[in-house]
Amino acid sequence: MKDFCTFYLKNFLFGIEVSQVREIVRFDSVTPVPLAEKCIKGLMNLRGEILTVLNLSQRLGINSDSSLLQRGKLTTVSNDTEQFYIVVQAGEENVSFLVDDVSDVITVNEEFSESPPSTIPFSQRRYISKVYKLQNTLLLALSPEKVVLYADK
C-alpha cells in the first residue's frame, strides 16, 4: 500500500509518492530564466530557498490533444494568476513542479500496478515508474528523480 499525492496534467492523473512531496503551494511570482530549457518555468522563492520550477506538462510533452489515453478525467484548469506548485524532493535537491490541478491523496495497492506499457513513447515512459489501475482511471506514478535528471535538449 502506498500513498500518492495526485494531480492533473491536462486530463491525465499523475501521482508522486507522499513521502517525496514536501508541500503544495500556490504562487504567483516565478522569475523566468532566459536561455534555459523551455520546460524550466523559472525560479521561486520559498521562504528563503530558491527553487527551480519545472513545467511538468512541458517536460513530459503532454498536450491536451495527446492521443495517448482517452479515458482520463477532464478537469477545468484554473485561470488564476496563482498556480499550483508541488514541491518535491528529488534526490538531494528540492524542485518545484508546475501542475494544472491538484487532486486527493490516494492510497493504492501494489497488486493493481503494472510497469508502464512499452507502447508509451520512451520520452514519456522514462519518467513513469508504475501505472496503477484505479477503478475509473489510471494513475501514472511519476519518479521525480527521473524528471529532474533526464532533460530534453
Binding site: T31, L35, E37, I40, L43, G48
Partner: protein, 793 residues
C-alpha cells in the same frame, strides 16, 4: 606547586644548565605518577575535553615544528629558532605524562635531548640530523593520531626512532657527563629541595581541604591548567614569534557557517525592511531601519573577516612537502613563495589545499629534472618551484611554476590516443594549448603516465574538479625544456556580494560589483554621434576607444529589444570587465547597488554560464545574477580570442593609474570655444539657478553650502567669448585654502585622459597654453593664476 617545578623555566633560573633538567625530571616522576592517578579519576568527560584540547595544541605545534626545523636547516646557527623548537617540544613532553601518554613523552624527550645538545653546540646541524628530527616529529604526529582514534599512544616506527636518537646522543653524552658531573650533584640537591617544598605544599592543600577529595582533585587540575596557561604566556612573552594564541580562540567552522547563513538571512530581511521603510513616512521607523541596516552591515563584515585566512595557512606545509618529495626523487628543489598574506575565504582555502599539494608534488616529481640532467641542459642543478598568489578583480590567482622540463606535447598526444581519450582527427586538429588541456581528462592519468609523460599525471582531473567546484578554473602553460606554469583562478565568491541591480524586459538582474567598471548614460541626441556600427555590431566611443555594446535583452533572447530607433530617451550602458575584456551592457534601467546573498542555481541551470547564481530581492522575488565572463564568452568576446582587447584593457589600466596628472575636464564657452581644466583642481561641478546669483561688493556670489561662493563667468575673464544665456549656470567649483571659487561655463563636456602636449605656450593671463585635445584646439586653464588675479574679489 609541583607542576611548576617540572617546567624548565624554574630550573634554568636556579642552575642555568638546561641539559641536566632531564635528570632532575626523573626525581619528580613519582610525583607525576600521583598527579596522573588523580587525573585518571577525573570525570571522563572533562578528561576527554582536556585530551582533545591537548591534541589540537600539539598537532598545531607539530606543524610549526616542521616549518621551524626546515628554517633551522637553512640557518643552522639561529638560536632563536632552536629555542622555539625546544620550547614546543618541551611543552609536549611536559604535558603528555599528565594525560598518561608515556610514549609521546618518551619520543619528545629524546628529540628534546638532541635539541638541547644543539643548543649547547655539542652537536651541529646537518641534513641527516634534520631528517631524523623530522621523522621524529612524524612519529609524534602519528602518536597523536593514534590517541585521537584509539585513546592510547601507539605508533609504528617508535622503537626505530628512539634507537636513531640514541645513536645521535651516544657520542656526546659521554663527554657531557664527564664535564658536568660536578654540577650534577648540586643540581640533584636543588631539585630535591624544590620537590620537597612542593610536596609540602601539596600536603598542605590536602590537609586544608580534607573534606572532599574530588574537589581537591578538581582544584589541582584547574591549577594545572592555569599553570599551563601561565607557562604559555611566559613562553609567548619571551618568544618573539608567538603571542597570537593568547588572544585568539578556536571556533568550530560549522558554527561559523551556520552564523554566515543566518547573517545571509538577516541581510535579506534587512533588504525587505529597507524596501518597506521607503513606503512609510514614520521617521522613527525609518531611523530604526537605518540602524538595522548599519548594524547588519557591520555584523556581516565582521563575520566575513572571521572566515578570511591568509593562504599561508596552506602554504606553510609546502616547504616540507617539497623537501620530502625532492629527497625521495633525488632532486634538488628550492621553493619560492610570494603573496603569502593573500586572504581567502576559509572554505575556498580548504578546497584548494589538496589540489595545490598535488600540483607541487607533481612539479617536483615530474616537472623538475634530476640534478645531473639539469646540469647537462645548462640549468643550475637546483630546480625552483615558484608559488605566487595575488588578488585580481574578484579573483585570487595562484600560480605554481617550475623551471623543469615542461610538458611534452607529442607524448601527451600519444598517450591520449593510447588511452582512447580522443580520436586521431581530434588530436591532429588540436593546438598545443588544447593538447595541454588533455592532462585534465579523467583517465589520462595512470601509473605509467606519471613517469613517462613529462607532465603532471595522477589526478589532474581531480585537481580541476576540486577547483571548479568552488567556481575556479585551472590553466596550464608550458614551454618544452624551460618549465610549466599552472594558474589557478578562484573567485572570492563569498556568500554575500555587492551587486548592481539592473532591469531589462521587466526582469531584474544582478551584476556583481567585481566586474563593474563604470556606468554611462547616453542621451538620445548623443546616440547618433557616439554609437558606431560595424557589420551589425555596435560600438560606443568611450573616451576615444571603441567599446563593444551588447543589449542584455537581446543576449538573453527576451524581447522587447531596446534599439537605437526606439523612443527611449536615454541609453543605459553598464561598462563591465570580464576575462580581460571590457564591454558595454545596454540595459533598460539601472536600479541601485545592493548587497545580495548568492544562492547557487540548481543542477538543471548550472550549464547556463550566463548566470552565476540567484538571489532574493527585497520584495521576496528571485533575481538572477549575471556572470559577465559567461556572457562575454557566449558572444565570443572572450579574452582568449583577441590579444587586442586585452592590450586595450591594459592600456586603460595604465591610463587609470595616471589619472591624477592626465585627466582634464573639457568645458565649452560660447558655441565652440573649448577650455580644459585639470580634474584635480576641480572639487565639484554644480548646476545652479541663475536666480540664485546675488551681488556682494560688486561681484556675483552664490550662497553655497553655508559659504559664499564668488563666481565669475569664464567669458568675462577672456573677453571676446560669447556667452549663452540660460536659466541655469554650470559652475566649476575650485577650492583653494578653504575658499571656494566658481567658474561659470556654458557647457561641461567630458573628462579626457590624454597625454597633452602644449603646442603653444600661454600668452594670455590664466592660460597655461594651447593644445590639441580630441582633435580640437583647446586652451588649458591655469586656475591658480585666475584665482589669484583680480578676476575674483
Amino acid at each position: 606547586m609541583i607542576l611548576t617545578s617540572k617546567r624548565d623555566g624554574d630550573f634554568v633560573s636556579f642552575n642555568g644548565l638546561k641539559s641536566n633538567k632531564n635528570n632532575a625530571d626523573l626525581l619528580i616522576d613519582s610525583l607525576v605518577y600521583q598527579k596522573k592517578k588523580a587525573l585518571q579519576e577525573l570525570n571522563m568527560l572533562q578528561l576527554e575535553e582536556i585530551v582533545l584540547e591537548f591534541l589540537q595544541e600539539t598537532l598545531e605545534a607539530l606543524d610549526a615544528l616542521d616549518e621551524e626545523l626546515l628554517e633551522l636547516e637553512q640557518s643552522p646557527d639561529d638560536v632563536v629558532v632552536i629555542r622555539g623548537i625546544f620550547r614546543k617540544l618541551h611543552t609536549i613532553k611536559g604535558t603528555s605524562p599528565f594525560l598518561g601518554f608515556n610514549n609521546l613523552e618518551k619520543v619528545s624527550h629524546v628529540i628534546e635531548n638532541v635539541l638541547s645538545d644543539l643548543q649547547e653546540g655539542t652537536l651541529s646541524v646537518n641534513k641527516e640530523l634534520i631528517s631524523t628530527l623530522l621523522k621524529g616529529v612524524d612519529v609524534l604526529r602519528s602518536l597523536c593520531k593514534s590517541i585521537e582514534h584509539s585513546g592510547s599512544d601507539i605508533a609504528d616506527g617508535m622503537a626505530d626512532i628512539l634507537e636513531q636518537f640514541k645513536e645521535i646522543g651516544k657520542t656526546e653524552e659521554a663527554m657531557k657527563y664527564k664535564d658536568e658531573s660536578d654540577d650534577l650533584e648540586a643540581i640533584f640537591q636543588a631539585a630535591k629541595e624544590e620537590t620537597e617544598k612542593a610536596l609540602e605544599k601539596e600536603t598542605a592543600i590536602f590537609e586544608v581541604t580534607n573534606v572532599a577529595t574530588p574537589t581537591v582533585l578538581k582544584n589541582n587540575s584547574l591549577e594545572q591548567e592555569e599553570q599551563i596557561f601561565q607557562d604559555d604566556q611566559k613562553s609567548s612573552a619571551d618568544g618573539n614569534r608567538s603571542g597570537v594564541s593568547d588572544s585568539s580562540l578556536r571556533v568550530d567552522v560549522n558554527l561559523l557557517d551556520k552564523l554566515m547563513n543566518l547573517v545571509g538571512e538577516l541581510v535579506l530581511t534587512r533588504n525587505q525592511i529597507l524596501q518597506l521603510s521607503r513606503d512609510y513616512s514614520s521617521t522613527s521607523f525609518v531611523s530604526v531601519s537605518q540602524d538595522l541596516n548599519r548594524i547588519t552591515s557591520e555584523l556581516q563584515e565582521g563575520l566575513m573577516k572571521t572566515r578570511m585566512q591568509p593562504i599561508s595557512t596552506v602554504w606553510n606545509k609546502f616547504p616540507r612537502v617539497i623537501r620530502d618529495v625532492a629527497r625521495t626523487c633525488g632532486k634538488e628543489v628550492r621553493l619560492e613563495m610570494s603573496g603569502k598574506e593573500t586572504e581567502l575565504d576559509k572554505t575556498i582555502i580548504e578546497a584548494v589545499r589538496d589540489p595545490l599539494i598535488h600540483i607541487i608534488r607533481n612539479s617536483v616529481d615530474h616537472g623538475i629534472e634530476k640534478p645531473d640532467e639539469r646540469v647537462r641542459v645548462g640549468k643550475t642543478s637546483e630546480g625552483t618551484v615558484r608559488l605566487c598568489a595575488f588578488h585580481d578583480g574578484g579573483f585570487v590567482i595562484i600560480s605554481i611554476s617550475d623551471d623543469g622540463a615542461g610538458l611534452n606535447e607529442e607524448r601527451i598526444r600519444k598517450k591520449a590516443l593510447e588511452r582512447r581519450l580522443v580520436s586521431e582527427e581530434q588530436v591532429a586538429k588540436m593546438s598545443s594549448s588544447e593538447v595541454y588541456q588533455l592532462i585534465f581528462l579523467p583517465g589520462f592519468s595512470t601509473a605509467e603516465a606519471v613517469t613517462n609523460v613529462s607532465g603532471r599525471g595522477v589526478g589532474m582531473d581531480v585537481v580541476r574538479a576540486n577547483v571548479e567546484k568552488v567556481g575556479g578554473s585551472v590553466e596550464v602553460q608550458s614551454t618544452l625544456g624551460s618549465g610549466t606554469t599552472l594558474r589557478i583562478k578562484i573567485p572570492l565568491t563569498l556568500a554575500i556580494i555587492q551587486a548592481l541591480i539592473v532591469s531589462t524586459s521587466g526582469q531584474r538582474y544582478a551584476i556583481p560589483q567585481a566586474s563593474l567598471v563604470e556606468l554611462v548614460r547616453l542621451r538620445q541626441d548623443q546616440m547618433d554621434t557616439r554609437i558606431e556600427e560595424i557589420a551589425g555590431a555596435l560600438f560606443y566611443r568611450l573616451r576615444g576607444r571603441l567599446l563593444p555594446l551588447l543589449y542584455l535583452g537581446t543576449e538573453l533572447q527576451c524581447a522587447p529589444n531596446v534599439s537605437l530607433e526606439s523612443d527611449d530617451p536615454a541609453l543605459n550602458i553598464v561598462v563591465v570587465r570580464a576575462d580581460g575584456v571590457e564591454f558595454g551592457l545596454v540595459v533598460e534601467t539601472i536600479n541601485d547597488t545592493e548587497e545580495i546573498v548568492v544562492k547557487p542555481l540548481a543542477r538543471q541551470l548550472k550549464e547556463l554560464e550566463v548566470y552565476s547564481g540567484a538571489t532574493i530581492m527585497g520584495d521576496g522575488r528571485v533575481a538572477l545574477i549575471l556572470n559577465m565572463i559567461g556572457l562575454a564568452q557566449k558572444v565570443g568576446l572572450s579574452g582568449d580570442k583577441g590579444g587586442f582587447d586585452r592590450s586595450e584593457a591594459l592600456e586603460r589600466e595604465q591610463v587609470k593609474r595616471n589619472i591624477a596628472h592626465e585627466s582634464l575636464l573639457l568645458v565649452q564657452v560660447g558655441e565652440s570655444k573649448l577650455y580644459a581644466v585639470p580634474i584635480n583642481e576641480v572639487s565639484r561641478i554644480e548646476e545652479i539657478e541663475r536666480k540664485k546669483v546675488e551681488n556682494a561688493q560688486g561681484h556675483d556670489v552664490i550662497q553655497y553650502r553655508n559659504q559664499i561662493l564668488s563666481i565669475v563667468h569664464l567669458s568675462r575673464i577672456f573677453a571676446g567669448d560669447y556667452s549663452r544665456n540660460s536659466d541655469y549656470l554650470k559652475v566649476v567649483v575650485h577650492e583653494k585654502n578653504g575658499k571656494l571659487f566658481g567658474i561659470v561655463v556654458d557647457q561641461v563636456l567630458e573628462v579626457v585622459n590624454e597625454e597633452v602636449q602644449i603646442v603653444q605656450q600661454g600668452e594670455q593671463h590664466g592660460v597655461r597654453g594651447t593644445a590639441i585635445i580630441c582633435g580640437k584646439v583647446t586652451d588649458l586653464l591655469d586656475i591658480g593664476s585666475i584665482v589669484s588675479s583680480g578676476s575674483f574679489h
